[in-house]
Amino acid sequence: MAKSKGKPRADDKALLAELDKRLASLQEGKGDWNEFWLWWDEHFAIKGKGILDGFLKQKELARGWDSKSKPKRKQS
């Protein structure tokens, strides 16, 4: 499970309303994308190393690319 220590949870509804407002502004050509992504990371990001690699590794397993698996023996 996710570790819950740290900052208290924000009000999701308010956060999403703020996101919609910012995206609408950007769509109209107002605002700065770099600033938006900094704000995005502060609110919607997940911290943790190797998460993407773990996700991609599972995909490799689904392709049968697991190099550690042994070839099947013939059934007698």
């Binding site: 994308w33 993407l52 996700f55 991609l56 690319w65």
Partner: protein, 160 residues
């Protein structure tokens, strides 16, 4: 990889691209490509096409991310809702209407990839889109084998 690829007007993205946008500790170059693609979606510079399994795949990745990592502020539900803002404008391709299990199965066997890899590639092939992914190993494998009927494919870190 390494070369800069001009953004295509049509793009098929897999879940790894969207996940990259929320994983703050992933390499900057990969995230920059994902951010730029999301910006272009909002600005309607690119139209994205996704199979109807896309949201399930993103949710699967989100569960894994939340289990292994720590959301900075928003709850997982809010993070998913935030990502959905970028999916709203996507063209969604539905099973048995826009794509068929049999053709995806045949493609997976032909290209020697997973059924779900093949699904995205088949959608990209059908609509003439570039397939964008964070999965460099998959791209290397497909580029090495040079299957003649694959769509254009690219690594999200090369998106400009």
């Amino acid at each position: 990889m390494g070369q800069q690829i001009q953004a295509e007007k049509k793009a098929v993205v897999n879940a790894s691209v969207f996940l990259t946008a929320i994983l703050v500790d992933e390499p900057k170059e990969v995230r920059q490509g994902a951010f730029q693609l999301l910006q272009d979606i909002v600005a309607q510079k690119v139209t994205i096409h996704i199979p109807d399994r896309f949201e399930d795949e993103v949710l699967g990745g989100l569960v894994e991310a939340v289990t292994k990592g720590r959301p900075i502020l928003a709850t997982p539900t809010a993070i998913f809702s935030a990502l959905q803002r970028f999916i709203r404008v996507a063209t969604i391709h539905h099973r048995s209407i826009d794509w068929h299990a049999e053709e995806v199965l045949q493609a997976a066997l032909r290209w020697r990839v997973s059924y779900y890899d093949a699904l995205y590639l088949v959608v990209a092939q059908k609509v003439g889109a570039t397939y964008w992914t964070a999965d460099r190993k998959l791209l290397r494998f497909l580029q090495h084998h040079r299957f003649p009927d694959l769509p254009l494919m690219a690594w999200i870190g090369d998106y400009r």
